[in-house]
């Protein structure tokens, strides 16, 4: 598993130009459900060597949050070949996350 902090400066290199799939996790310190989702993501991503997990702190990266119409967190966006292919809002259990990244 490859875990990176995404900012507006590295977004293009880390997400748009990534070879494999990228799972973006929009989160913030004050978000309880985000804290609970984070270990679920780690657990699922550990089974998918090809998956890169990009963490986006919405407090620090409001432009990225706006760009993806994020109005509630946690929000997950799955990228394949530089394009968003799936989006999910709210805390989800591991099995749902599995099918989310299978899209």
């Amino acid at each position: 598993m490859n875990n990176v902090t995404i900012t507006k400066d590295n977004f293009s290199a880390e997400v748009l130009q990534a070879q494999g799939p990228v799972l973006l996790d929009f989160w913030a310190d004050w978000c309880g459900p985000c804290r609970m989702l984070s270990p679920i993501i780690d657990q699922v991503a550990a089974q998918h060597a090809e998956l890169k997990v990009g963490r986006i702190n919405v407090d620090e990266q409001p432009e990225l949050a706006q760009q993806f119409n994020v109005m509630s967190i946690p929000t997950l966006v799955l990228f394949r070949g530089g394009k968003p292919v799936n989006q999910s809002v709210g805390l989800i259990p591991p099995e749902q996350l599995e099918s989310f990244i299978a899209q």
Partner: protein
């Protein structure tokens, strides 16, 4: 001293309190209730299929006996309406926000009963959730900085959500959906008492995003966000706020066989976890949750006892 908060004083909540008290008598246990007769047990006319009842008794009487028995053993039952539940900043305990105060506890057991709110039946509600429709002001207010937002509801919980939004959002409106306007609405809030008829998404956005709500009079009110706060904050709303997983249908809190949610120290029992809505089941699950809370508290205190 370890502390526990049990939300709800019905069969599950009281039973949880009894077992927690017996397992760890030194624990500071507070059982919170909106008041006698506010749960589903009080709605039951006569109960005759429950263990130990020589003659049928009313649900209200069974509820009264349950509380009286708990109080006799020294448990504290306090009248509070709970608005919010979250992990504290150290992530080692919980903050329970109520109508009177914010309380701290090492463990929380949710025994709030099942959601009895009727589904809203507003077209588009599902698709717009997370895209303008929110169930948690403190979670999502940030995204509506300076934007027009509304709160749907007419009770104290709705007023609480208004209070969270006022300092952050732009113009704030209250939609009572047909209920009379409550007392205590801040003067800067516009109140609409007509029921909502439809949600209007913004054109050409992917995913869809809320742009306005339409009232039965045909009037349209532009809104970036609508916060749903009908009735009281039930178990699923409290669970969402804390970060606890729900069952697949979203109507109950998801727990394991020991009534533990995915959040260490947070348990749920009774109607709030779905299944058979019966006193016998609630009493068992409360007992299981109480014992699981005892084990959790024992484990938690172990590493700290050496310092």
């Amino acid at each position: 001293m370890a502390s526990a908060i049990i939300i709800g004083a019905g069969p599950a909540g009281i039973s949880a309190g009894l077992y927690l008290h017996r397992g760890l008598p030194a624990t500071d246990i507070r059982i919170l209730t909106k008041g006698a007769g506010t749960g589903s047990l009080a709605q039951a006319g006569l109960i005759e299929n429950y263990y130990g009842l020589e003659a049928p008794i009313s649900g209200a009487e069974l509820e009264r006996r349950g509380r009286a028995g708990a109080e006799r053993l020294g448990l504290t039952i306090a009248e509070r309406e709970v608005f919010g539940l979250r992990l504290n900043d150290k992530v080692d305990g919980f903050l329970v926000e109520t109508d009177k105060d914010t309380m701290e506890a090492d463990v929380v057991i949710m025994a709030t009963g099942a959601a009895r709110e009727k589904p809203l039946g507003l077209p588009g509600l599902e698709e717009l959730t997370g895209h303008g429709i929110s169930y948690c002001a403190i979670c999502d207010a940030f995204f509506y900085r300076g934007k027009p937002v509304g709160v749907l509801g007419a009770g104290d919980y709705a007023l609480h959500e208004l209070g969270v939004l006022l300092p952050i959002a732009g113009e704030v409106s209250l939609f009572t959906n047909g209920a009379p306007a409550p007392a205590g609405v801040p003067t800067s809030v516009t109140v609409y008492t007509e029921p909502l008829q439809a949600l209007t998404p913004a054109p050409d956005t992917t995913p869809h995003r809320l742009a306005a709500v339409e009232l039965t009079s045909g009037q349209t009110v532009p809104l970036a966000g609508l916060f749903i706060a009908l009735g009281t904050a039930g178990s699923t709303i409290l669970a969402r706020k804390a970060g606890a997983l729900l069952t697949d249908d979203g109507r109950s809190v998801r727990v394991d066989e020991h009534m533990a949610t995915n959040i260490p120290g947070l348990f749920a029992a009774g109607d709030s976890i779905g299944g058979l809505l019966q006193v016998a089941k609630a009493v068992y699950e409360g007992a299981e949750a109480g014992l699981a809370a005892v084990r959790y508290l024992r484990q938690k205190s172990r590493p700290q006892s050496s310092t």
